[in-house]
């Protein structure tokens, strides 16, 4: 099952990138970075949804599995948020000659990154297993509630960001859609793998301790 998912993700990613870089090219070449930027933004937000669901699930049931899913989704969310901020920063340097500026969407994506980092710091600083799982679930829920609040409150600040992206050809839309889908599979796969790693690590540590 997992092998099929790995294969599917790889094929889809390669196919989508091939279409994006051949038929789906965007006019000034620097704008092709949206093919990395938009999918990672969507996937980072999806990781937060998983974090919320997993935190809620842990507090409800107390099963360790939910806790591993939450930790994995925070780490994967950090990866996507890093890609999101890095590509955004590179693009804004090329387009507006600045690396970063306080503009609504830039603030929101920076806060996404910070929330993931803080979640992982909190996780690393508590030793007792049950306490860590409970507290991280609580913080996960609070962090996810923070995301819409940031997106709304950042609107108090003027925007320089491109509000809408219009496509010239059907290939551009297709390749963007395919890339979003491929990244979605990639995020799911990474969360799955990381959850398994955390689970086997916990098993191993339990065996060593007792």
């Amino acid at each position: 099952m997992r092998r099929i998912l790995i294969l599917l993700t790889l094929v889809l990613l390669l196919l989508a990138m091939w279409i994006a870089l051949t038929a789906g090219q965007v006019a000034p070449i620097k704008r092709n970075i949206i093919y990395a930027h938009i999918p990672s933004a969507i996937c980072a937000l999806l990781c937060f949804v998983v974090l919320f669901v997993a935190g809620f699930g842990y507090l409800r049931t107390g099963k360790p599995g939910w806790d591993y899913v939450a930790a994995a989704s925070a780490e994967v969310g950090l990866v996507f948020a890093t890609v999101l901020n890095a590509t955004g920063s590179i693009f804004s340097r090329a387009e507006w000659n600045i690396w970063w500026t306080p503009s609504p969407r830039l603030i929101s994506s920076a806060v996404l990154w910070f929330l993931c980092v803080v979640y992982l710091i909190l996780r690393a600083s508590i030793q007792s297993y049950h306490r860590r799982a409970r507290i991280c679930a609580v913080f996960g829920i609070i962090a996810v509630i923070d995301v819409p609040l940031v997106i709304i409150s950042a609107r108090f600040i003027p925007d320089i960001h491109r509000a809408n992206f219009s496509f010239d050809s059907v290939w551009q839309g297709t390749s963007l859609g395919l890339l979003v889908l491929a990244n979605f599979f990639l995020a799911a796969l990474l969360i799955w793998l990381k959850t398994d790693i955390l689970q086997s690590k916990a098993l191993l540590e339990n065996e060593l301790n007792y």
Binding site: L59, P104, R105, I107, V111, F114, L115, V118, I121, L122, S125, I126, Q127, S128, R131, R134, I135, A137, V138, F139, I141, I142, A143, I145, D146, L149, V150, I151, I152, S153, A154, R155, F156, I157, P158, D159, H161, A163
Partner: protein, 237 residues
């Protein structure tokens, strides 16, 4: 309801009395607030910045960092002699403990502001003309926001190895969305920016005083309720 009020009052009175007898944190908070204001006043003079622009930022920085001191204390005092176990064994809902601690923190911040706000007003030559009521509303809403998140996180970091620094990181990242409208509202009150500033994008907020206040009320309501509901999980053993 009566039982809730009685137990709330008992915990609240205990915290306030111990703080005002021991005078551990409040003097430190006040001195820290004044030092922050003083350092930034000197810097603003060196950079010849307008004091009405930097004033709101100084107010919120002073409140945030001094508030952290109050919040860190609110559960650290319970660690001595394992008081927290006694508190949790008492037949009260954990939510009541949270609300009592929240009130204590809000009162501490209010006392702190009574001293520090005049100092900042004098050093930065600020004036809100006749808008005292609006000014106090903004400060109170900010107090509630800072305290409701900080009180929960204070309980969360109790058993970790790096409690103080962890608490500041957690609180600052979660409070970030509230600080934008809070600063915006104070900038409007001090007359540093024009009354109406169009927001932008698809979710555009018209940036006036009312939307800023509305946002802060919503933030406080969302986080007070969420933290109150989640507090039980944090202190569970």
């Amino acid at each position: 309801m009566n039982y809730f009020c009685k137990s709330l009052w008992a915990i609240f009175a205990k915290d306030i009395v111990t703080e005002f007898r021991s005078k551990q944190v409040l003097p430190t908070m006040i001195v820290l607030g004044m030092l922050i204001a003083w350092v930034l006043r000197i810097v603003s003079e060196a950079a010849s910045l307008s004091t009405t622009v930097i004033g709101p930022a100084v107010l919120w920085i002073a409140f945030l960092f001094s508030g952290l001191l109050a919040q860190e204390r609110s559960f650290a005092v319970e660690e001595q002699e394992d008081c927290i176990a006694g508190l949790l064994l008492a037949p009260v809902d954990p939510g009541t403990i949270y609300i009592a601690k929240l009130f204590t923190n809000i009162i501490m911040l209010c006392v702190f502001e009574l001293v520090v706000v005049p100092v900042i007003f004098l050093t930065f030559q600020l004036s809100v003309a006749d808008k005292w009521f609006e000014f106090i509303t903004v400060l109170l809403l900010g107090n509630i926001g800072i305290s409701c998140v900080g009180t929960l996180f204070s309980a969360m970091v109790q058993l970790s190895r790096i409690r103080g620094s962890l608490l500041s990181v957690l609180v600052l990242v979660i409070l970030m969305p509230m600080m934008i409208p809070a600063t915006f509202a104070l900038l409007l009150l001090f007359g540093a920016i024009p009354g109406e500033l169009a927001g932008s994008g698809t979710l555009a907020l018209v940036g006036n005083f009312k939307t800023a206040i509305g946002y802060m009320v919503a933030f406080d309501a969302v986080y007070t309720v969420t933290c109150w509901l989640l507090f039980g999980f944090v202190v569970q053993e």
